[in-house]
C-alpha cells in the first residue's frame, strides 16, 4: 500500500516534469513563429488593435478605413489595446514593437490552450500522461503554432473553446455543478466576444449542458459558497456584455454582426473583405436546375475537403503556405489508424470520450456544411476552406487520438502507435520547422 502511494507520488512528479517540458517546448516554438510573417489577416488585426490601444472603451469607426469596428466582437482587440497601454505605462521608453507584443500575447493564449488540452485529456482519461501526450501533439501541430505566433482572435477563441469544453467535462463528471457551469459560461462568453465563429460552439456546448441537466436534474447539487457566488457575478457581467453586443446587433441590424453596407456607403464595401455581401445566394430554385452539375457533398468531402483540412492543419495554408506532403500523409495515416482503433475498441470507450467525439463531430460537421454552402454560392472557388477553422477543436481531436491508441489491446501495437505518434508529430512540428528553416521559414522571417 505504502509502496503504491510512493509510486503514485513519483508518477505525479514525472508527469509534472513532462508537462513543464511540453509548455517550455511550446513557448520556444511559439516565439520562433512570432518572428515569421504571413499569418491570416494581420493587417486588419493589427489596425484594429492599434485603434483599441488609443482608448479604454470601443473606438469609433474611421470612415476612411476599410475595416469595421462597430458591432464586431471586440474582446481580443480590447485586451491587445489594454496590454499595450499597460506596457507603455510600465515602460514609457520601451522599444518593444506593438505587433511583437501582441504576437507574444497570442503565444501566451496558446500556451494556456496547450495547458487546458492537458487538463482535458487528463480529466477524460484519468491519466495525466495522456494529458501530457495530447498537449505535446497540439504543441507540434504546425498550423496551430503558426497561428499562435500571429496577431489573431483565433488564439483567444481556441483557448476559450478548449477551456469551456474542459469545464463542461467537469460538469459531466459531477464535480461542483455551479462552479463548472459558471466557468463554462464565462469561457463561452469570452470566446463569443472574441470571434463570432465561436457562437456555433457556444450552441453545441449549451445543448450538451441542457442534455446533462435533463438527464440528471434530481441529482444536481447546488453549492453556493463564496467562490461560486463570485463566479456567478462574473458570469452575469460577461453575459451582459454578450447581450450588449449580439442582442443589440440583432435589434439594430437584424443580424449577429452588421454588414458593411449597413454602416457605410455601398461604394466603400466593394473590397475583397466584403465579398460575402455580393454572391449568388443559396437558392433552392437555382439548385433545382443545377443539381446534376454540382459536386455532391460526399464527393466534395472525399476528393477535396478532408485533404484540404489535413494539409492546412499539419501544414500551413495562409498568406504564406507550406505543405510538407509526406508529413501530412503520415499524420493522415495516424488519424485513420486512430479511427480504426476507436471503432474496433468502441465498447471500451468511456462516456466522456463519447462526449468529446460528439463535440468534435458536431463542430467539424458544421464547418463542413458551412464550407460546402460557401462553395456552392461562390461556384467552388474554395474561399475560406482551411483547417484554421477547425483549430478550436484540434486539442479535442488529439486527446481522442491518444485515448484511442490507449484502447488498443495488443501491448506491442499500443506502444508502437504512441511512439510513432510522438515521432510523427515531433518531426512534423518543431523538427520540421528547424530542418526546413533555411529553405522555407527564413523567407518569412520578420525583423522588429
Amino acid at each position: 500500500m505504502l509502496k503504491n502511494k510512493q509510486k503514485n507520488r513519483l508518477s505525479l512528479e514525472k508527469h509534472h516534469l513532462l508537462l513543464a517540458f511540453t509548455i517550455l517546448y511550446f513557448l520556444t516554438f511559439g516565439i520562433f513563429m512570432a518572428h515569421t510573417s504571413g499569418q491570416p489577416d494581420q493587417a486588419p488585426h493589427s489596425y484594429i488593435s492599434r485603434q483599441f490601444s488609443q482608448t479604454w472603451g470601443i473606438p469609433e469607426d474611421n470612415p476612411d478605413s476599410q475595416y469595421i469596428i462597430t458591432g464586431q466582437p471586440y474582446l481580443y482587440y480590447w485586451i491587445n489595446g489594454a496590454v499595450y497601454k499597460i506596457y507603455r505605462q510600465i515602460f514609457p521608453n520601451g522599444n518593444l514593437h506593438p505587433t511583437l507584443l501582441w504576437r507574444l500575447v497570442s503565444v501566451l493564449y496558446s500556451t494556456f490552450t496547450v495547458f487546458f488540452t492537458y487538463k482535458l485529456a487528463k480529466k477524460v482519461s484519468g491519466n495525466p500522461f495522456i494529458g501530457v501526450l495530447s498537449a505535446f501533439l497540439l504543441s507540434n501541430t504546425l498550423m496551430f503554432v503558426y497561428v499562435s505566433g500571429g496577431i489573431s482572435y483565433d488564439n483567444l477563441m481556441n483557448l476559450a473553446a478548449i477551456a469551456s469544453i474542459y469545464h463542461l467535462v467537469c460538469v459531466f463528471k459531477k464535480e461542483d455543478f455551479i462552479r463548472h457551469t459558471m466557468l463554462t459560461g464565462i469561457w463561452v462568453v469570452i470566446g463569443s466576444l472574441a470571434k463570432d465563429q465561436y457562437l456555433l460552439l457556444a450552441l453545441i456546448i449549451f445543448l450538451i449542458w441542457i442534455f446533462f441537466i435533463i438527464r440528471n436534474f434530481k441529482q444536481i447539487e447546488l453549492n453556493f459558497n463564496k467562490t461560486n457566488i463570485f463566479l456567478s457575478i462574473i458570469f452575469v457581467v460577461f453575459l451582459c456584455l454578450f447581450v450588449g453586443l449580439y442582442g443589440n446587433n440583432l435589434i439594430e441590424y437584424s443580424r449577429i454582426t452588421p454588414l458593411c453596407y449597413q454602416l457605410r456607403g455601398i461604394g466603400q464595401c466593394r473590397t475583397y473583405d466584403y465579398r460575402y455581401e455580393y454572391y449568388e445566394p443559396f437558392n433552392l430554385q437555382w439548385m433545382w436546375f443545377v443539381r446534376d452539375n454540382l459536386s455532391d457533398p460526399f464527393r466534395y468531402a472525399f476528393t477535396f475537403w478532408i485533404y484540404k483540412m489535413m494539409e492546412s492543419i499539419w501544414g500551413i495554408l495562409s498568406h504564406n503556405s507550406f505543405i510538407p506532403i509526406f508529413s501530412v500523409s503520415l499524420h493522415g495515416i495516424l488519424l485513420v489508424w486512430a479511427l480504426f482503433s476507436l471503432v474496433k475498441n468502441w465498447k471500451f470507450i468511456n462516456k466522456l470520450t463519447l462526449l468529446l467525439i460528439s463535440i468534435l463531430v458536431a463542430y467539424a460537421g458544421y464547418v463542413f456544411l458551412w464550407n460546402y454552402k460557401r462553395e456552392v454560392e461562390f461556384n467552388f472557388q474554395h474561399y475560406v476552406v482551411t483547417g484554421r477553422y477547425l483549430l478550436p477543436i484540434v486539442g479535442v481531436l488529439q486527446s481522442i487520438i491518444i485515448i484511442a491508441f490507449m484502447k488498443i489491446r495488443n501491448n506491442f501495437l499500443r506502444r508502437m502507435s504512441i511512439a510513432m505518434a510522438i515521432i510523427i508529430y515531433f518531426s512534423g512540428g518543431l523538427g520540421m520547422f528547424l530542418s526546413r528553416y533555411s529553405e522555407v521559414f527564413t523567407h518569412w522571417r520578420l525583423y522588429y
Binding site: 503504491n4 509510486k7 503514485n8 508518477s11 514525472k14 508527469h15 516534469l17 477524460v124 482519461s125 484519468g126 491519466n127 495525466p128 500522461f129 495522456i130 501526450l133 459531466f172 463528471k173 459531477k174 442534455f211 446533462f212 438527464r215 440528471n216 441529482q219 468511456n350 462516456k351 466522456l352 470520450t353 462526449l355 490507449m406 501491448n411 506491442f412 499500443r414 506502444r415 508502437m416 504512441i418 511512439a419 510522438i422 515521432i423 518531426s427 528547424l434 530542418s435 528553416y437 533555411s438 529553405e439 522555407v440 527564413t442 523567407h443 522571417r445 525583423y447
Partner: protein, 279 residues
C-alpha cells in the same frame, strides 16, 4: 533501479554512456542544419558545446527519471523487439530524411560590384537563393546582418556562399544562384564574379527590353573549394552513422520507458477513474 543503487564502476559506465549519447544526439541534430556549415570553426564549436550541454541535461533527466527505474524490463522479449524495430525505423528515417546530414560544404567566393549611371545610387539585392532547394544564403559574409544587401555605386562587396553537396541530391542539383534585384533597379552595370569568373548585367530603364527582377548566376561554380576534410572522409561519415545508430537506440529506449510509464499509471488507476457519467 536508482542512481544510488549503482556501484562506482556502474556509475562511471552510466555517465560515460550519457556523454556518448549526448554527443551522438548533438551530431545527429546539428549536422542536419545548413546553419552549422555556414559558421566559422569557433562559432560552430560554441554552438556544439552549448547545444550539447542542453541535450546532456535533458538526457540525464530522462535517464534518471524514466529509463533507469525500469532498466530491468529491457531484457524482456517484447521490449527487445520494440526497441530493435523502432531503432531500425529511426535509423532509416535519420539516414534518409536529411540530405544536409551527409553533405560536404563547397565554398564559392562572390564579388559584387555596381556602377550606377547616376552618382549616389545604390543597388539592393533582396535575396540570394539556391533555386533548386529554395535555400536562402545568409548575407553575413557580405557584412550585412539581414537582406537586402546594398551595393553603393562605385563600390564592390565581397562575400561567400556555401553549397551543401550531398550524395543524396547531388545528381539533381544545378550549380547556380538566383539574385533577386526587385522591380526597378537603378540604371547601371552590375558585375558579379563567382570564384573570379565575371558576369555582367546592364540595367537600363530607358531601353525597351525589360530589366530582369531575378538574375541567374551560373558561371564560375566549377571552381569552388570543397571541404573534403573531414566531411568526405570515411571516418567522419562512419562517425555520423554511429551517432545515428546510438541516437536511434536511445530514443527507442526513452519511448519504451515513457510508454511503460503511461501504461503502468493506467493499470494502477483503472478502477479509480472510469471516466463515466450517468447521462
Amino acid at each position: 533501479m536508482k542512481i544510488y543503487d549503482l556501484n562506482t564502476y556502474q556509475r562511471i559506465l552510466f555517465f560515460g554512456t550519457i556523454f556518448l549519447i549526448a554527443a551522438s544526439l548533438t551530431i545527429t541534430s546539428l549536422f542536419r542544419l545548413p546553419l552549422i556549415y555556414e559558421q566559422t570553426v569557433q562559432e560552430r564549436t560554441t554552438i556544439f558545446i552549448i547545444f550539447g550541454l542542453i541535450i546532456l541535461a535533458l538526457i540525464l533527466i530522462a535517464s534518471l527519471f524514466f529509463i533507469l527505474p525500469i532498466i530491468s524490463l529491457f531484457i524482456n522479449k517484447n521490449a527487445i523487439l520494440f526497441i530493435v524495430i523502432l531503432s531500425l525505423i529511426l535509423s532509416i528515417a535519420f539516414v534518409l530524411s536529411s540530405a544536409h546530414y551527409w553533405a560536404a560544404p563547397e565554398i564559392h567566393k562572390l564579388d559584387i560590384c555596381f556602377t550606377g549611371d547616376a552618382e549616389s545610387t545604390s543597388l539592393n539585392i533582396q535575396k540570394l537563393v539556391n533555386p533548386n532547394t529554395n535555400r536562402l544564403f545568409p548575407p553575413d559574409s557580405f557584412g550585412f546582418s539581414r537582406y537586402p544587401i546594398t551595393v553603393e555605386s562605385g563600390q564592390c562587396i565581397h562575400g561567400r556562399v556555401i553549397f551543401l553537396i550531398s550524395p543524396l541530391t547531388q545528381a539533381l542539383i544545378g550549380y547556380q544562384i538566383t539574385a533577386t534585384i526587385g522591380e526597378s533597379p537603378p540604371d547601371g552595370r552590375l558585375l558579379v564574379s563567382v570564384n573570379e569568373t565575371p558576369s555582367v548585367i546592364y540595367f537600363d530603364q530607358a531601353a525597351n527590353n525589360q530589366n530582369p527582377e531575378i538574375v541567374v548566376l551560373r558561371d564560375g561554380f566549377s571552381q569552388g573549394i570543397m571541404l573534403r576534410n573531414p566531411y568526405k572522409q570515411y571516418w567522419f561519415i562512419g562517425m555520423k552513422l554511429i551517432a545515428i545508430i546510438i541516437s536511434s537506440i536511445f530514443i527507442a529506449l526513452l519511448l519504451f520507458s515513457l510508454t511503460e510509464e503511461i501504461f503502468s499509471f493506467s493499470n494502477q488507476n483503472t478502477n479509480k477513474s472510469s471516466g463515466d457519467f450517468n447521462a
